[in-house]
């Protein structure tokens, strides 16, 4: 049981993620999570304002079923498959985070300094979450995919556009993690 309740080894995790992509391929679908955001916009009536959302969202019901499953999967893993020993970071990372006033994981998945209800109620805390979301939504649709669609499916199919997109993910991620995040957190 200890193996199940602690952090899953990267090799097991990676293999199972690869298998998820192959399973959806076997079901005749393509693996991609960010396209659900477009489907949800379309369901909310965004087709009235842009042709990009004029689509038959019912054809994407299968993908919305995956999303609902993900939510339940997160619930199950968090409540029934965890023993609070996870997220053992590199001690250097923990020390570095401390200088940025980010609390250590101590078994938590997310830092309170960014995700707690108290932080959410501050203008800065709210803005970080909203702007992060905006960048994710705009960026993934512009690039035509996210980590699942490009980094896993696209690269597995040896697609050059996906390699360019993943290089982009890292350009943006490195700029944020090394230069912008320290400034934002100290504002």
């Amino acid at each position: 049981m200890e193996y199940l309740l602690g952090t899953w080894h990267w090799s097991i995790s990676g293999f199972l993620i690869g298998m998820t992509m192959l399973l959806l391929t076997y079901f005749g679908k393509s693996f991609g999570m960010s396209s659900n955001l477009r489907t949800m916009c379309s369901m909310a009536g965004a087709g009235k304002f842009s042709d990009f959302f004029k689509m038959d969202w019912r054809e994407q019901k299968w993908s919305l079923a995956v999303v609902l499953g993900c939510i339940l999967g997160g619930f199950i893993a968090y409540h029934f498959l965890s023993n609070g020993t996870g997220v053992n970071l590199n001690p250097d990372t923990v020390a570095q985070l401390q200088t940025l006033s980010i609390d250590a994981p101590d078994g938590k998945l997310l830092p309170d300094a960014i995700f707690s209800m108290e932080t959410l109620q501050t203008p800065k805390g709210f803005a970080i979450l909203l702007v992060g979301g905006l960048l994710i939504g705009f960026g993934t649709r512009y690039a035509g995919g996210c980590t699942s669609g490009h980094a896993i499916s696209g690269l597995s199919n040896l697609q050059l556009p996906s390699l360019v997109a993943v290089i982009g993910f890292f350009i943006g991620g490195l700029v944020m993690a090394h230069f912008l995040l320290p400034i934002i957190l100290k504002l």
Partner: protein, 137 residues
Amino acid sequence: MKLARFFLTGIFFGIVLTKAEAVSWYRIYEMFHFQSFHMFGIFGTALVTGVIGLQIIKKKKIKDFKGFPITIIEKEKGFWRYIIGGSLFGLGWALVGACPGPIFILLGTGTYAIAIVLIGALLGTYIYGLLKDKLPH
């Protein structure tokens, strides 16, 4: 139920990403600082599994579960949309430590704050839809 297999796949994926800690803001921070092999190991293994799996599907012309040939959609050619869009997503990914899959999964772990990220992501997608024709692709 036609949708049951997708729902079950989602549950599986949600559990795996949570237990892999790929939904953790901390792990994304650590990855972008190259302070742990964990996330790179996950991507690497997923890729090796995916490349080998898709090659087998193509070589053996494996049919999908309904008996139809499997066609794997090729990505559209282009450069600017991938490098600019990818970089913008990367900025958001490293800021809130979640990509679209984990946004949904974290809702399930009871992180209410992630709902704001989801609202932002829906708005961002909507803004892209409005500006699409004016952007270089």
